[in-house]
Amino acid sequence: MDTMRDRFIATATRLLDEDPRLAVVLAEISRDGFDEAARRHPDRLINVGIREQLLIGVGGGLALAGVRPIVHTFAAFLVERPFEQVKLDFGHQGVGGVLVSAGGSYDWPAGGFTHMAPGDVALMDTLDGWAVHVPGHPDEAEALLRHAAAGDGRDYVRLSLQSNSRARPLIPAEGRTGTGTGTGFRAGFATVREGRGAVVIAVGPMLDNVLAATEGLDTTVLYATTVRPFDGEALRRAVAALTGDAADVVLVEPYLAGTSTAAANDALPTTPHRVLGLGVARRELRAYGELADHLAGHGLDPRSLRERITTFLAR
């Protein structure tokens, strides 16, 4: 199977052919994959070199000139390094764009912490009007990228080597009009399993592990591929179907633990509830190895998840 990043390159290359409104901006990362696109669209495939502040500034400038930019590099260099550019060159200017990251929280564990960005979504959460897409499969990555490219809002698409075994159909979020004035499509939280004891929200590539961890438990599992805007309506519906006096909600996210805890609380202002936010710990593991080692190291493998979830629910 191709990776989400492979699919991004293939899809963005086709989008450049299909939509003259689009441009792709790179800072060397994934450059080779876009060789053919660069030949076909020399004015709309822009590689600024190893310059991440310029990468984002150029994206904002393209948008000011009426072009929709698709801006790509590793998450650590796309969001964290030029964060003030993301804040000012898009949001403060009042323009849109599509940021597409790769690398995620630990896609290249042997590369160490310099290439890990577990805090990217939490950082984006400090900004207004960004949709955050966390696909769990290359097919979902393609669909979300196409929706984002067709709109004109501010979209962050977080790609990872972590993937579920199969893709799920994206369902439109109810009552969503989107953050921009574009297509208005936003993927809602899909119900993958129904139960009465608790609600577990699995974000993107965490779904397979969450399904394995909650096998045989009386829990509803919601699947989120677009996590901002947060589909509070879907959570409220799932919570309403639970038994018991107070709702138990567990979030399992492939980035910094607790990133969406506030959003889940905000969705349930009048419902007694508890929220357990699981994800990547702030503490650096200072270990290399493989992706699976880091999932286990942060307690996100099925066995650890089951233990943490059942312990929470038993209290």
Partner: protein, 237 residues
């Protein structure tokens, strides 16, 4: 459009924007930063830029990006003098209900192309604007960005300078207002930094309107252009 009694072609401060500047109070700390740009802005808006209130959103207009967003009084005065907004807005400068802040916001002020204030954003945005115009097949519009010599300290500018030269962005123009405010200075001169990156560059007297006009309009085929306008050093703050 209001009449403009500017003094293009001389070296005296243009009268109309100077009168309008006096209507803004409350940011005296930024006064020197504002007067340092007044003559250069006037020459640009009066004689060089192809933009007017009627075509403030036209795809083919020239773009002027004020990157050095602090001390925008001269900028607001020039925009008001050219009719982008009414001079009655000027006395409200910096107040809660006014669109005119101590740093400009493009979403609030007609004719303002970027919101600025944090240094080092304008030149990268200008590079992107040129690339966007190119991508749309618009070779006519020129993009100007104004930065300060101390703003040049920001590394983001150097990413943009180093890219724009080899990329041959002929539509791009950088105006550096040099009032010697960079703490560590620029040994070898500011223009040499641009030239080393493949730009066409020239240093002129930032109070001499004719010299600036000539430098602003000099041909520079296949290369971006930088004009360093030297003005009197910033007085100690």
């Amino acid at each position: 459009m209001p009449s403009t009694s500017g003094t293009s072609g001389t070296s005296s401060v243009p009268a109309e924007p100077a009168r309008l500047m006096a209507l803004m109070t409350g940011a005296e700390k930024h006064g020197p930063a504002a007067t340092s740009t007044l003559d250069a802005l006037w020459v640009l808006y009066d004689r060089v830029l192809r933009v007017s209130p009627a075509e403030a959103d036209a795809p083919g207009r020239d773009r002027f990006l004020l990157s050095k967003g602090h001390g925008p009084m001269a900028y607001y005065a020039v925009l008001a003098a050219k009719g982008f907004f009414a001079e009655e807005l000027l006395p409200g400068f910096g107040s809660y209900g006014s669109p005119l802040g101590h740093h400009p916001d493009r979403t609030l002020v007609p004719g303002v192309e970027i919101g600025s204030g944090s240094l080092g954003h304008g030149l990268p945005l200008a590079v992107g604007s040129v690339l966007g115009l190119r991508a749309r097949g618009l070779a006519g519009p020129r993009v100007w960005v104004l930065i300060g010599d101390a703003e040049l300290d920001e590394g983001s500018n150097h990413e943009a300078i180093a890219y724009a030269g080899p990329a041959g962005l002929e539509q791009l123009h950088t105006l550096v207002i040099d009032n010697s405010s960079a703490t560590h200075g620029w040994p070898g001169g500011i223009a040499s930094r641009f030239e080393a990156a493949g730009w066409s560059a020239e240093t002129v007297d930032g109070r001499d309107h004719e010299a600036m006009y000539a430098a602003f309009t000099a041909p520079h085929p296949g290369r971006p252009r930088a004009v360093v306008a030297r003005v009197e050093p910033k007085s100690p703050s």
